[in-house]
Symmetry: D2
Subunit: 312 residues, 4 copies
């Protein structure tokens, strides 16, 4: 991302500090990234940089070994071998605004600090997430937890958005009526849906943030939280370029082969690429499980190691 | 609670075990306690007893001191002096069903294990929390986060319940329509409100459960989560009678006096009980803060140490 | 502490940042505070200030209530009512050097991030904690976990220090011999004692640091870890003056009265100050426990509410 | 392990319970497994079984999908896709005795509950870890953190053990002398080495225990802690056979290929097995890093996919 494409900064007051600096993070401080229709994420505070990771790791090695590893090699080594504690020395604090159902998935990551907007203290806003028609999808049949690739008809899209919109409108006018009657806020908000926007300050260390990103950038995560994950990933990538590259190489883009899969790969010595049917039969015989078989075939396919019979 | 008042048990299969037993907890295993209109809590599994707390504490002391303390005295000593780790050796697992807004307050306690019903995997039920008219209240003005003691008129109550009920009905019929259109569950549920019921397995150690109870049995906690707290408190009290008694004495029923409050108490030597106006003036002069002054007066009053001028 | 008394700073490179500043913390960055004979603590990084606590708390209240509370009143309110999450928004990272037995007590605080010097990677230093003669004490009989106020004789002091010193010298020369033989470091270090110095980077949020300080500044904590607690307390006090003052008032200097103690106080209405024997008899009748009785008398005494019969 | 090979049980009192049973865990309750020369591990309490994992997972799916998955398939699916929360529903509590330096590595796993023997309360025992000559090794040069495969000479072994033994003897007699002088226990123990035995109750959920085992069963872990890991692994395997098998397949015996490694594998399509030199040159060109190159070659070799030129 070029600097001229950066969003507006909320605050531009510079001050002097003896803390270690992080130019990549400074670039993103107070610059909100828009997410979904009414949401955003911005970096509100940070602590540390790639150098802090290295510095913390090196306390283990004492003076004698300081020069042996370069920073990049050391960070990659730490990531590869799951020496996670040095990554915990960096912190990022975000201010985020998102629908309640996204907040509910997000909060399941326990190793973070949170201060959320409270519907008991304050009035909820009249902002609800109305998806863009382009992201509406049918229920997936194979993957019970998510949406399929199958789109609805334009007419169905229209109907869906109309139903949601009407619900939101009625909910909010009901909410206002309840407040007007004098009902306490903590009860009046009960008719508001999980599409209603909330916001929070969320603080987490870099190791746990990368764990969050690994799960929430995944194709199995709901699209709506992935949008927030991608916004934060962009900020992390600029702020901790070496750590993020290692994270991409060894986590995001890595693939794990199970013990039984490794046995099959051994048997396939000299036979790769392999015909899909042959591979499927071998895998089914070994795993006795369709889903696990399919996952193995998918990995071979991604490597270009499957061949397909035209008759299939 | 007498045994005959216990609710039905879900399962009655007994088996032999070498684990340490806990008759109080056995009594409650699989016995759901109804909470609010559609919710419940029951003890699904447990580990440990008052004796486990003692046993864990005693590993610190070695053999020589085993007989010095009796169990009760030791447990009370541990609680009084915040030696919390032995209480962490006991675990309780509950199966709970509650409105989403209650679940959202509950989940803020991070030191617990949770498996929640998923609106992505499964259809949400047509169950929404509709409060009993007797618990409806106006917004508190002094305490911005909660309800006051002031009731609505019967007519207003009726109107409130009608508004909520209509919202719930429309939300659920909207939800079903969206599912019928084929929209993926993870989006269709977006119009459902935070009064919709969810459920989970929730597991926590005894120390952290008591911390939860301390906060959620408090008068400042929202009534709807307090109901669940009270159900669990009843189970804990039967399961860990010594620990619970110590918890009541040193936490629930204890009062803390701040450093500045202790100074005022010193000054009040020989002058207690004290006239309310005198006490207020002393406190305001010291604290320069109305709320803190009021909290101090409330503590004196609870001790019967305030006198009131009839002219006031 | 006056600025001219501050220890030397390790690094003096200033840079510009958009992060929120903290002059009190900047003052202490990279300035080691000497602890015990070879140890130290210095602030290596920080994030946040009193203002960050306020800002995080205010997200709960929304816009409407922003001006109601001043910062100081709000921070004190948060501390008094155990709203701990806003304090978690601040982080402090320390570089510390301490004897292994101190590190062993320290590490029991789990909510922190640690990178420790490793005796597997690097050679252990020839630094052992040899206490100053002035802090040597006899075993306490009443408090089984600590030292009494009773001093040894000068001759005994001398003997103690000689025994320890000889052990340390032999341990280290044994260690060097084992390394010379070629034995792996991870085994050679096995003869080194828990007085040997180690070091680490330790990072913790402000709420958990204050919890640490509350336990480790207490008179029951071992003197040697208290020294480190006091060094950090000084830094926290300068860095978060409002939070620290509230912490002193409501935690460090506060006293909690249990439910049963409050009942006794009610009974003492109009009878305070009270004769010590009378108070003891009342308390023993209620508590049936000598230690709890003594703790109650100590609280009354601290308030100046006990009178003593000269015959006693 | 056959039942007749099981060590003695500490307690044999059976009682009735409505908790879910676990025959594999019952078998190991109170049966100490000897570790090193004076240490042990035994299962003191447990909660849950493979069925509890399944039950917790199924709350997410609601009623409709109950019969779709068999237990084994579901547990394997959960493990494969890092759905870790259901595994957290099981708890194991161990009583362990180990040298202090092992305890220091062990305690770094923060998500566990611990009550340790205290040298402040009680006298330390005269038990120190003296390694068997068969496990003494030279320092590894390639792996800076551990021992090599290279043995010492029998004479060197003898000398090593003599040095350690003498240190231990002198430390303990010094300790007793300091106690005799009257020095407080918390200072007298300072001359005792990290080979001295300590003990604790340690409680952890199954997910975090498996994470512990993954790191501590690894060849890079120090042998002395691996011994304890293996003892617990044996108990877990009997207690949670389905979960442990999945853990072995997808964690212990799995291998992860990084993004860049997967690219190399794509390029090797049709060229496997590959000559070691060719593979090394490809990898070095891609990684620019010797260690990463070697790790890639090791993975190919383990699959039997490397060929070696006889001239090499």
């Amino acid at each position: 991302m070029k600097d001229e494409e950066l969003p507006e900064r909320i605050s531009d007051l510079e001050s002097l500090t003896l803390r270690s600096g992080n130019p990549g993070a400074e670039k993103w401080l107070h610059r909100p990234v828009k997410c979904l229709d009414h949401g955003f994420v911005y970096l509100a505070e940070y602590m540390g940089s790639d150098s802090s990771i290295v510095q913390a790791a090196r306390v283990s090695y004492g003076q004698g070994t300081k020069k042996i590893n370069e920073d990049k090699g050391l960070i990659r080594y730490l990531m590869r071998h799951a020496h996670t504690t040095p990554f915990e020395m960096c912190e990022l604090q975000f201010h985020c605004k998102m629908p309640i159902f996204v907040a509910r998935q997000w909060i399941r990551h326990r190793t973070a600090n949170v201060n959320e907007y409270s519907g008991r203290y304050s009035e909820m806003s009249n902002e609800f997430y109305l998806p863009d028609a382009s992201v509406l999808r049918k229920q997936s049949q194979s993957n019970r937890q998510g949406r399929s690739d199958e789109e609805l008809t334009p007419k169905q899209n229209e109907k869906v958005l109309k139903i949601l919109n009407t619900l939101y409108k009625n909910q909010y006018s009901g909410y206002k009526k309840l407040l007007d009657i004098g009902l306490t806020r903590e009860l009046a908000r009960m008719g508001l849906s999980v599409a209603n926007y909330t916001q929070w300050y969320w603080k987490i260390d870099l190791h746990n943030l990368m764990h969050f990103l690994r799960l929430r950038l995944d194709g199995h995560a709901q699209y709506e939280i992935r949008v927030f994950g991608e916004a934060m990933a962009k900020i992390v990538k600029d702020s901790f370029p070496l750590a993020y590259e290692a994270f991409e190489d060894y986590r995001l883009n890595a693939k794990s082969f199970s013990g039984p899969e490794l046995e099959l790969l051994k048997q396939l010595r000299g036979k790769l690429p392999v015909d899909k049917n042959t591979a499927r039969n071998m895998a089914m015989a070994r795993f006795q499980n369709k889903r696990e078989t399919q996952e193995f075939l998918d990995k071979l396919d991604a490597l270009g190691w499957l061949t397909f019979n035209w008759l299939e």
